[in-house]
Symmetry: C2
Subunit: 458 residues, 2 copies
């Protein structure tokens, strides 16, 4: 096998980085499960006609064929998100699921697009969705926002800003000012991220057929944001009236109000009336999330309400969900060193080896430690103790155990302090923070991950 | 989206089955990490020339192309095992890894082969490997056998029989009896699984060029098995002498002896001199595993020693590893109902809803429970309590919480016994076995999973 190089767009982690990723996934799982979400994993492939039913993503699909069947595609492709497979899973298993059905799904997805900052060809997403049979009460919109905000607040990452809006609100507003083509207005307003406000104002007149005054009102709406329900008054002050607008305002106020308990240093939940989300299937609440200091990555966590997540012609399954871009969030933090692990191996103890003949003695010490949940490895060869200690240092293993050489007691050395004491492998216990690798964050506002785990995941 | 049907060869689990799979993966991780193995995840794709460097698997590869680039393949395919990607990962990151490097990898792999019992097109493997830089002492062969045997013993599955042999032993034996083509003999002996012993004896003469007496000796060797080191004497009694044979006997005896501590009801480690493993790259120890009562699935867990897991031309990286076929093991046990979960949702408590207006009261109860690690969900709508209880019953959620309707205390009902008592969400605690869904096994010899977790994974 020749020397190889990394493939662009397919990020791979070093072992210490993988420890961080696993820790983050464990935290997400813990919080999703506390809220009653069940894990689902779907196959990596879907029939092409399923994947291409929404035209706009068709460019990005990887199609499969079997090597020795070069003439024809296998008719299947790798999934590009977790929503399409979940909708299919719900239809396929509707008779065996209980609704409303809460599921989380942490899995890789693939897109054949050109790799760039925050965009990969293979990446991991963590989705939560709640899906109903025929109907799904609105309060579940509040629930998914709260659950994801709580989950993000527990992660060792920079502060997150979860921005919420409501499609009914903006559609009602545009209709209320007399816009003829509501969708065209939405498409233009969606460009506020990329274009200066003057350019957007001009496009609203030219492309969306608004008067200058109407355009001004649209931009005034898009400028409103608040972390409490005061946005309602600001919208009312614009003097527009429409039934859909009223419903949208009520819903958005309920989401912002329902997330009050998580609003804080780690996560801000705010109404942001600029958010529209391009995808047609969102029908009410919409979410986007920016990570502070990493705004150029775009939205880290997005989603919304779809009145028809899936339908088999007879029954419609409405849903509301939100998808965290785990790779998009973590890979830059790992690459920049913002996040790392206290050591690249699980081992808390290296059991030294006196001689190859006495390996059984060292192995017995390691097994005694493992029986009590202390990860341990035995030195690979009976080098001088100084070399064995340096081996532990290179792996940042905090303790080296010197087994008894003559039937006496052994000794354990904390190689950071140099302290060395007599110890019995059946009773010795390291401090809990040394037991497993810790996630180390350079951000002072990150929560203390270990204590959190100790307390909540018995 | 039209009604869909399951795709043959791509098994998907229902939520209660997925709980079992996650529990099994957690147990494997816990034990691998106790032994100092670090988690690695590699990308799903490899360059085709990497995947096809071992000709025999070329039939099975799924090749990728981007949808809008129909003329050319992307030059990449889905990995069909975790060994090829790991070897590539080691070469790519050799300068940043510490050797010997212990890694575990739990991931999906894909093969385009025809689906049949125990064979899927997408399935999950759990691999452990130890890889050295230039050299890797033999005792690591004992280590991987011990770690995987310990892991299998902790799983809620039927008893496992880990069968070990040594390529040096059989090659030395064949050379010692004067076989001209040792590999040909090995290929024929490997057919003992499929052909009657007489047919194999005939083939040894016809195809492998042995005399009848030599063939008899080969079959005598293949018939030897023992769960202790008594096999050594049985081989010696056949009167064959060869240097490689001696080395192989010593190594095999060391593996069987080193695994004494795990030999028991759940796992048997035995020398079985019939095992050869077809793959050319194994050079010493080889492993296969059958699950009792499921012998027709073939080997559940296989591997061995390869003197050149990877090489970049200057440095060779020897390795020893073993790969557990997680899907092959679990899917039949889940399909037959041998394994299931005590409930399909994480929720231990359903908090009932008095009226939609008092949702905040129910949500506050649920949040108080979650803060103390008790998974809870709030009823989706304020139906009659009888209907809310039946909703919990259908999900097998053990407790329903009735929030205070007038500022008094709430009550919690165990819906299995019907017992209902006053309770405070800030102090009430369910029995630990109700906290999370339990894995239920119909096999009486399965270990008690919950206690195991409590003790070892703080």
């Amino acid at each position: 096998m020749a020397r190889t190089t990394a493939m662009s767009g397919f990020p791979e982690l070093m072992p210490d980085q993988r420890i961080v990723e696993l820790d983050v996934i464990e935290t997400l799982r813990r919080i999703f499960e506390l809220h009653g979400f069940a894990s689902v994993e779907t196959r990596a492939v879907e029939p092409l006609e399923q994947l291409l039913s929404k035209g706009e993503t068709s460019k990005e699909v990887y199609v499969l064929r079997r090597l020795h069947d070069s003439a024809t595609d296998a008719g299947i492709g790798l999934h590009f998100d977790l929503t399409v497979p979940f909708a299919r899973y719900v239809l396929e298993n509707a008779g065996r699921l209980e609704f409303p059905f809460r599921r989380y799904q942490v899995q890789k997805v693939w897109r054949g697009e050109r790799p760039q900052e925050g965009r990969y060809r293979e990446f991991t997403q963590a989705d939560i969705d709640i899906v109903g049979h025929g109907e799904l009460p609105f309060h579940h919109d509040v629930e998914v926002a709260l659950v994801m905000a709580e989950a993000m607040a527990a992660l060792p990452v920079p502060a997150m800003r979860l921005q919420v809006n409501n499609r009914r609100l903006i559609q009602g507003f545009y209709a209320g000012i007399g816009a003829a083509d509501v969708d065209a207005v939405m498409r233009v307003v969606d460009k506020l991220d990329k274009l200066p406000i003057d350019a957007v104002a001009a496009l609203l007149v030219e492309d969306a057929g608004l008067t200058e005054q109407q355009a001004e009102q649209c931009l005034a709406l898009a400028g409103i944001r608040s972390t409490d329900t005061s946005f309602v008054e600001q919208v009312r002050a614009l003097g527009v009236r429409h039934e859909l607008l009223d419903q949208g305002l009520d819903e958005l106020a309920a989401v912002v109000d329902g997330c009050r308990s998580v609003n804080g240093e780690r996560v801000t939940v705010e109404a942001d009336l600029r958010i529209a989300r391009g995808l047609d299937y969102y029908t009410g609440t919409v979410f986007e999330t920016v990570m502070e200091g990493y705004e150029s990555l775009g939205s880290i966590c997005s989603g919304g309400r779809y009145d028809a997540l899936a339908s088999d012609g007879r029954t419609t399954y409405p849903g509301v969900g939100i998808s965290l871009g785990l790779s998009r969030m973590l890979v830059p933090l790992l690459a920049s060193g913002h996040l790392s692990a206290s050591r690249p191996v699980p081992s808390a103890v290296l059991v030294a080896l006196v001689s190859e003949e006495s390996r059984a003695v060292s192995t017995a010490v390691a097994q005694a430690l493992r029986r009590r949940g202390i990860p341990a490895e035995v030195a690979s060869s009976a080098q001088k103790f100084g070399k064995q200690i340096r081996y532990a240092e290179r792996r940042r293993i905090p303790y080296v155990w010197f087994p008894p050489s003559d039937g006496g007691t052994g000794q354990v050395k904390d190689i950071r302090s140099g302290d060395q004491v007599d110890a019995d492998p059946d009773t010795w216990q390291p401090p809990v923070e040394d037991l497993r690798p810790r996630v180390v964050s350079t951000s002072s506002t990150a929560p203390d991950r270990r204590n959190d785990n100790e307390e909540q995941h018995p």
